[in-house]
């Protein structure tokens, strides 16, 4: 069916073509002319494009003075990461400083306490020595007195054996009416007094024995004093250990603080710090290592039309940052290594150019 249809169509077309208006050649000619003009323009555009492309590729392959402006926004990933690290570092530093202060205060207090204890120790020692010397002197004397006392008491005891007879005599005398009741009471009181005195004397003898024991041997009191002395020494030793630990901690934290301060100082010399910390707008540019030789502080910065011609000076290099950065080549789109510089721009719109040139105009105009 399809074949037949096509054939029919072909047959029908013949008379239509035969009656083709005479205007057709003119239309064809016009179309071809327009097409040719368009084609020539297109092909020249392609040719120019290819030449320009080749030139640009060659230019950037050979040029060693270009840099790519970079606008660092506080909101970009690197800046956000930097900000977060900066805040964390500062917080850590603050915490360490507080901890340091606490440790230093603690060490001072403990040292003072230790000094007090150490001051107490010789006094205690002196007291012990003094007491020992005193005991050494009074011990034998007391021993002698104890002997006398014992002898005295022994004599008194003999006397006291006769008291009962005296009492019986008093009773007899009272019963016989030889003495009055008052006299009897007075005599009995005297006897009690004598008994009491004897008892006191016995107590004194025992107490004297105790004293002799204290002064001639090491008693529990002495041991208590020695214990106190040992405690004192132990406490001092413990304080020494605590001071040592605290000082070690202070040393470590001091080191850490120094490192953090150094890190902060380094961070302050990065473009990201300027970007996130400063209130002013700062302009940076990425410089590949290949173009390093053209850079120093104060080097002129040029911005060009079409990234290479009709250049004008737009500023100078203000600062060169040491840290390595990676970037994508603006033309070849490859990953390249380099560093950032800060630019002092008189024409701030140049910060948005694809490339700027350092030190000299790339094509001498």
């Amino acid at each position: 069916m399809a074949t037949t249809d096509v054939k029919m169509e072909e047959v029908k077309k013949v008379p239509a073509e035969a009656k083709a208006p005479r205007i057709q050649p003119m239309v064809y000619k016009s179309v071809v002319t327009v097409y040719r003009i368009f084609a020539i323009i297109t092909l020249y555009a392609v040719l120019l494009g290819v030449l320009a492309y080749g030139f640009v590729m060659g230019f950037y392959a050979l040029n060693t003075s270009w840099a790519a402006p970079v606008i660092l926004s506080p909101a970009d990933d690197k800046s956000l990461d930097f900000t977060q690290k900066l805040v964390t570092t500062r917080q850590t530093l603050e915490d360490l400083n507080v901890d340091m202060k606490r440790l230093q205060d603690g060490v001072a207090e403990v040292t003072k306490h230790r000094a007090a204890l150490l001051a107490l120790a010789p006094e205690l020692q002196a007291a012990i020595v003094r007491e020992k010397q005193h005991n050494r002197a009074t011990g034998p004397q007391l021993l002698e007195l104890d002997k006398q006392k014992q002898a005295d008491n022994l004599k008194t005891q003999t006397v006291m054996a006769q008291i009962k007879e005296v009492e019986a005599t008093i009773d007899k005398d009272l019963a016989a009416g030889l003495i009055t009741k008052g006299d009897a009471a007075t005599q009995r009181a005297a006897l009690n007094q004598a008994q009491s005195t004897y008892t006191d004397s016995k107590i004194g003898e025992i107490l004297l024995t105790d004293s002799i024991l204290e002064k001639t041997t090491t008693d529990t009191k002495s041991l208590d004093v020695l214990d106190k002395q040992a405690e004192l020494i132990s406490e001092v030793a413990q304080l020494d250990i605590a001071i040592g630990v605290a000082q070690k901690q202070i040393y470590e934290e001091t080191k850490q603080i120094n490192m953090l301060r150094q890190a902060l100082a380094t961070a302050k010399s990065t473009p990201y710090y300027l970007s996130v910390d400063g209130g002013n707008v700062v302009y940076f540019a990425f410089v590949p290592y290949d173009n390093q030789s053209n850079i120093s502080i104060g080097t002129a910065v040029y911005d060009c039309y079409l990234n290479m011609v009709a250049c004008r000076k737009v500023g100078t290099v203000k600062q060169i940052f040491a840290g390595e950065e990676h970037a994508i080549h603006p033309i070849f789109k490859t990953d390249i290594r380099g560093f950032l510089i800060q630019m002092q721009l008189d024409h701030t719109e140049s910060a948005k150019s694809k490339t700027v040139f350092l030190n000299r105009k790339p094509l001498f105009f």
Partner: protein, 424 residues
């Protein structure tokens, strides 16, 4: 947004291509219906039309190879048509006519240089055979070629059949090596799905067989082909294939019918050849788009897809190359594409060495150069083709004589380039 769209379309095309190739391999190995049932007892009379322009002694070799054909000699003839060559081509034709008397060789000559398409038409005037085989005058034919082509026409719905084109000079240099791979892959893989639906989008003009009545029906259209009044004398093979399909006939490639052609060995020659091909692809796309409803209703969906996607791929390639170059030019220089190409080359080299030793490529690494060529091809040839649709220049052969005058009224130009026949 635009690059994303381009990439999306590219990925879609790649996916379609991948599916197509995978499908082709499955068809090739497991579906008998993908190939035509050949009947070797079907032996129609055959006229081998050989237009020639500045081929020199090669025409003699071509006729010699045809004379060795195993097709019955009384069933075929060679009609060699010289298109006003300025070298000794015509003399070599006459020499072949004398030397190969086992077959009938007729030699004719155009009165003016007319181009290949019209030379074929002129040669057709001298033919009375049932089957016409149009060939290139620089090819060497396998003895089985005519028999194989004729056998396919036993299927009545087959209108045109092509053969597989091999490369005569695969190891001349990297350029010819690349073309060897591409030719082989194109015939053995790419055209298989098209064969399945009997809807090959382009049968090569090197070896193109068509039913006589069909060619006679299309001949006026070939003669009257013009682009806004400018005669078109390129891409007649694609045009003929397309017209065959539009007339409801099937088109088919018989890979057992083989001929070998000398492919361009220098970049300028290759550039001109590819430019000529690209022009015909672009013209064909415009023609397809202009008559798309007719295509959709008449042709198999696979045919429409082939006719639209193949040329669209060429234009898309240009956009992709532009996107890559404007985005990340070094991506093209990366190792991945090169390794990919070399891997394909290694596989193809092994397959070619195994199944077509005559075309074995000594240095498969040469295919790596295709990467650079594909960029040039995508970027420049498509652009140039789009901007030179008015060109009539054949490109690969020097031309001294004035070309046929422009036909501004759309006539068929029969008055020009008529042939003179010599001897019989």
């Amino acid at each position: 947004m635009a690059p994303v769209l381009v990439w999306l379309i590219l990925i879609l095309c790649l996916l379609i291509s991948l599916l197509k190739y995978t499908f082709a391999l499955i068809l090739k190995w497991s579906v008998p219906g993908a190939t035509v049932k050949k009947d070797y007892t079907y032996q129609p009379t055959v006229s081998v039309l050989m237009p020639c322009f500045n081929e020199g002694k090669t025409v003699y070799e071509t006729i010699e190879s045809i004379s060795r054909s195993n097709y019955p000699n009384d069933r075929f003839e060679v009609i060699a048509q010289d298109d006003c060559s300025v070298d000794d081509s015509y003399e070599w034709m006459l020499e072949a006519q004398r030397d190969f008397s086992n077959i009938r060789v007729r030699v004719g000559r155009n009165t003016v240089n007319s181009g290949k398409a019209r030379s074929v038409c002129n040669a057709l005037q001298h033919s009375t055979a049932e089957l016409i085989i149009s060939i290139d005058s620089d090819c060497i034919f396998h003895t089985e070629a005519i028999r194989e082509l004729a056998a396919c026409f036993s299927e009545p719905k087959i209108g045109s059949v092509g053969g597989r084109i091999g490369v005569r000079n695969p190891n001349e240099n990297a350029i010819t090596a690349i073309q060897t791979f591409i030719y082989y892959a194109a015939f053995q893989v790419y055209k298989v799905p098209e064969n399945w639906t009997r809807s090959v989008g382009c049968i090569s003009g090197c070896l193109f067989a068509i039913r006589r009545e069909l060619l006679l029906e299309i001949e006026p259209k070939i003669r009257s082909r013009h682009w806004f009044g400018i005669p078109v004398n390129q891409g007649e093979d694609r045009f003929l294939t397309h017209q065959t399909l539009l007339r409801g006939y099937g088109t088919y490639i018989n890979n057992d019918a083989v001929c070998w052609t000398t492919v361009p060995s220098t970049l300028p020659e290759l550039f001109k050849q590819q430019l000529r091909w690209k022009r015909s692809i672009v013209r064909d796309l415009f023609y397809t788009l202009r008559t798309l409803p007719q295509h959709v209703w008449t042709l198999h969906p696979n045919t429409v897809l082939t006719l639209v996607l193949t040329p669209l791929g060429a234009i898309l390639g240009l956009l992709v190359a532009l996107t890559v170059i404007s985005g990340n030019p070094m991506e093209l220089a990366g190792p991945a594409p090169l390794i990919g190409y070399l891997a394909i080359a290694a596989i193809l080299a092994l397959v070619i060495r195994r199944y077509s030793a005559r075309e074995a490529v000594n240095n498969p690494l040469a295919f790596g150069a295709y990467l650079a060529w594909s960029v040039v091809s995508s970027l420049f040839i498509t652009t140039l083709a789009l901007c030179t649709l008015d060109s009539r220049d054949w490109g690969t052969r020097a031309k001294i004589q004035e070309p046929e005058r422009e036909s501004t009224d759309g006539d068929d130009g029969r008055q020009d380039g008529r042939s003179q026949e010599s001897a019989g």
